[in-house]
Subunit: 252 residues, 2 copies
């Protein structure tokens, strides 16, 4: 979840991005024919399978559709919701949230804003973490982006005494993320999480997600407990639900 973006983009991704950009710019309109496999092979000097893969990205996202023997066309109607963010589970906590995408290539949430500080936690959170009055918490605030669009704000509170000197406070928490570091410290976490459908309140968070106040969002409250029952982390998240949905919300 803290992996840095790939330095070099695959060719097929670059071609797909080019096409998407041109569609967004109105160069190709719904119903228009897109450059086909042969066109892309000639234009970009790539093999057929690579051109195909580029067009496959657009088809997987519902932006384009191919008609055999005819060509590839911009779709008239396309799905608004294209991706789900996989529920945090026991098996995935090592890597945090992972993104399910219709693309063949899997993508990950990337952190694009990070701040780490020690300060007092809000009263309720301090109580959950068993902090004495005035005892500081380590607060990690992160913003996650998917395809350049901010989708998730996360504030993580940990007892400062617990994580002193740990890599947890580094910008890159290392393989396995926060929970793996906690496990190394002898606090292998099991978390409890609840989601609430809500609407974006006005304020700083609305701006950071570039969402108008009132936009539907998910609020996620997560508490991680160590095996001895001690709460070791409180994580509060705000998630844009217009573009992205927590996967298990599909059942609702």
């Amino acid at each position: 979840m803290t992996s840095s973006p790939r330095v070099t983009q695959p060719k097929y991704q670059r071609i797909a991005d080019d096409l998407k950009r041109e569609i967004d710019a109105g160069r190709y309109r719904p119903g228009d024919r897109l450059p086909g496999e042969n066109d892309l092979m000639a234009t970009y000097g790539v093999a057929r399978m690579t051109a195909r893969q580029a067009l496959g990205v657009l088809q997987g996202e519902g932006i384009a559709e191919a008609r055999r023997g005819v060509g590839v066309f911009v779709r008239e109607f396309r799905p608004i919701r294209r991706r789900g963010i996989q529920r945090l589970s026991d098996r995935t906590w090592g890597g945090g949230a992972s993104v399910w995408s219709a693309d063949i290539a899997s993508r990950e949430l990337a952190v694009d804003q990070l701040s780490v500080a020690e300060r007092e936690a809000p009263e309720q959170i301090a109580a959950v973490l068993g902090l004495k009055p005035g005892e500081p918490a380590c607060v990690r605030s992160r913003r996650f982006v998917l395809d350049g669009k901010p989708v998730l704000l996360s504030d993580s509170y940990l007892p400062a005494a617990l994580v002193a000197g740990s890599r947890i406070t580094d910008p890159d928490t290392g393989p396995g993320g926060t929970y793996a570091r906690l496990a190394e410290l002898g606090h292998k976490p099991v978390h409890f999480q609840e989601q609430i459908r809500s609407r974006m309140p006005a304020g700083d968070e609305a701006e950071r997600l570039a969402l108008a106040p009132g936009t539907p969002v998910f609020l996620v409250h997560r508490i991680a407990f160590a095996e001895d029952g001690q709460a070791v982390e409180v994580n509060e998240m705000v998630l844009d639900s217009a573009s992205y949905i927590l996967e298990y919300d599909f059942d609702a």
Copy 2:
């Protein structure tokens, strides 16, 4: 939309179906590792890209996820809704509804039950079509399947006098479907359509879709008008909304 199923299935599709079957049967459980590219190459005697394509089908449907350098695994949580049925539009009416799928290979709705008869239409429908009392309508009842699962019932009413002798009454309406035949008869249609979220009423239709009464469904009422304003077709559809969603419902 009336295209017959492929006689020979592509290798990658057969491999993907095999894997899906084994997952459904519990042979591979969520979190389990699936046979990788190399395994499938050896087992089925196919090239790497073919094995990859098979695994890509499962990934595109959200059933499996690949972890680079590790393997391919059955996902813990998967989306319930995997596909959308594209809204019938001016551009697509020639081919009827087409299915958008995350798969690279596009699939189509197939008709698996068909009946054509001349009989009196229900009063409301007869009124819309401008039928005199006792004047018969040509009624085409169809059931559509996607991946073997019935998803859509469609009853189409056309003035019998209008379509007498036309290929419209053939089981296979030919290229372009019903609307192309109407166009040939000089009634190029423009349709109006509304969707209603509802619940499956008990009765024959529930059985034909293998849905328990009360299951959420979409009811679609569609009226096709010729350019002179005369209604030429009334189409009533019931659509399983649990597995499949009309695409423009995404906006809701």
